[in-house]
């Protein structure tokens, strides 16, 4: 494929996903969603809680829920380092609800920084939209 690039998602325990033929990847970067196509400029950024979408050569779309992480794009290779990533299809509603209640508990906590608060609010928003589907 001429317009594809390499995608690697690793978490501390193992290599979570590795694809040679990613066409488009949309990541929830800290300052807003970011779409990657082939020959994107080299970039380093970090993630906020949200949905990571992968479209590969067979035009199938996969969606993952990530909580945090760092991304690096270099030489047509996108590396995503994250400690919390789940495949949406394999996530059941109860699990989502568990994380949601946990996050809501965290947001009650007042002595956290604005940035942490922002991240938690983001998390709650994404999780809520997930439970609706």
């Amino acid at each position: 494929m001429s317009n594809s690039f390499k995608l690697e998602i690793v978490n501390p325990e193992k290599s979570f996903l590795s694809k040679e033929d990613a066409i488009e990847v949309v990541v929830p970067a800290f300052e807003g969603d970011m779409g990657f196509l082939k020959d994107h400029i080299s970039i380093i950024s970090f993630l906020k809680p949200g949905l990571l979408r992968v479209i590969d050569g067979t035009a199938t779309e996969e969606t993952y829920y990530v909580e945090d992480g760092i991304i690096e794009f270099k030489n047509n290779c996108l590396s995503v380092l994250t400690s919390n990533i789940f495949d949406i299809k394999k996530m059941d509603k109860n699990k989502i609800r568990d994380i949601l209640t946990e996050a809501e508990k965290d947001s009650q906590n007042n002595d956290i920084s604005d940035q942490a608060k922002y991240l938690i609010d983001q998390k709650i928003e994404v999780l809520k939209s997930l439970t609706l589907n």
């Binding site: 325990e13 290599s15 800290f30």
Partner: protein
């Protein structure tokens, strides 16, 4: 000389010890394979993390304003040592090797009149250090309950360390662990994680790349560095667990062999005493008959 009965008991007790050590060796061998796999699987993450940080460091223009976690507090008065050991014993020199390494480091620090603080991870390390360095141990952490090493646990340790750093409780942080080389060799390591040692920096051609940063470098770094600490600890834990199993396997293998040798020796001794007893009885009978 021990009586026949005593010898018999000794032999059977050594034999049952041998059975236990043999079983433990098998278990360790099975666990070792998994631990080794995990350690290998975990490597890409820490390597990538390291790469990104090195790239970031290159992009930072003003070193003065860089986060404290990276450049340190500018002082070197209080040293925090994180000694990572296992929760279980019977693994040969595994724990003592780490402790030995750590102790020589402690001595150096105390000789230089610096303040020493110790965090022990794993109960065996605490047991060995509490005799000499009890007053310096500020925290002991043990993950006896969790069966497998997971990132969540190491994140907890990382958060404790960062929390203490933010409260200015220490200037330099070093971790001690065993690096897994192969089943027979494990190398005790000391690694400084705060401030980040730049001696390992390797300049290669990829450094020429100009990266875009979003948000700014400083912000990414301050977000990334705490994660890096957890990752380093996680790496150390993975290496440690593979080393622990390897070390146990070797130790138990040796123990099994020793027990075998001991059984052989005791059996010879047993047979000899039996023979002697029979001979003695015969002589008694014969000399009794002769005297008639």
């Amino acid at each position: 000389m021990a009586s026949l009965d005593d010898l018999k008991k000794r032999i059977s007790s050594v034999k049952s010890t041998q059975k236990i050590t043999k079983a433990m060796k098998m278990v360790a061998a099975a666990k070792l394979r998994r631990a080794q796999e995990n350690a290998e699987k975990g490597r890409p993450y820490s390597e990538k993390m390291n790469n990104i940080i090195l790239n970031l460091l290159d992009g930072i223009s003003d070193k003065e304003t860089a986060p404290k976690l990276l450049i340190g507090t500018g002082e070197e008065k209080i040293h925090l040592c994180v000694v990572m050991t296992s929760d279980r014993g019977l693994c040969g020199g595994f724990n003592s090797n780490i402790i030995k390494k750590a102790k020589s480091y402690f001595k150096k620090i105390l000789n230089d009149n610096k303040t020493l603080k110790i965090i022990t991870v794993g109960s065996k390390g605490y047991d060995q250090l509490k005799r000499t360095y009890k007053d310096y141990i500020i925290e002991k952490i043990s993950f006896k309950e969790s069966k497998n090493i997971n990132y969540f646990d190491s994140d907890k340790v990382g958060k404790i360390i960062i929390d203490k750093f933010k409260k200015k409780e220490f200037d330099v942080c070093t971790i001690f662990y065993n690096q897994f080389k192969n089943v027979i060799t494990q190398i005790p390591q000391e690694q400084q994680i705060i401030p980040l040692k730049s001696s390992e920096e390797k300049k290669d051609s990829s450094f020429e790349d100009n990266y875009e940063f979003e948000p700014e470098e400083d912000e990414i770094l301050s977000n990334l560095l705490p994660k890096n600490i957890s990752t380093q600890i996680f790496k150390a834990m993975l290496e440690n667990s593979a080393s622990e199993q390897g070390s146990r396997m070797t130790a138990m293998d040796n123990a099994t062999r020793n027990a075998g040798e001991m059984v052989d020796k005791l059996t010879i001794q047993y047979n000899r005493s039996r023979q002697a007893a029979i001979t003695k009885e015969l002589i008694e009978i014969i000399s009794g008959a002769e005297s008639l």
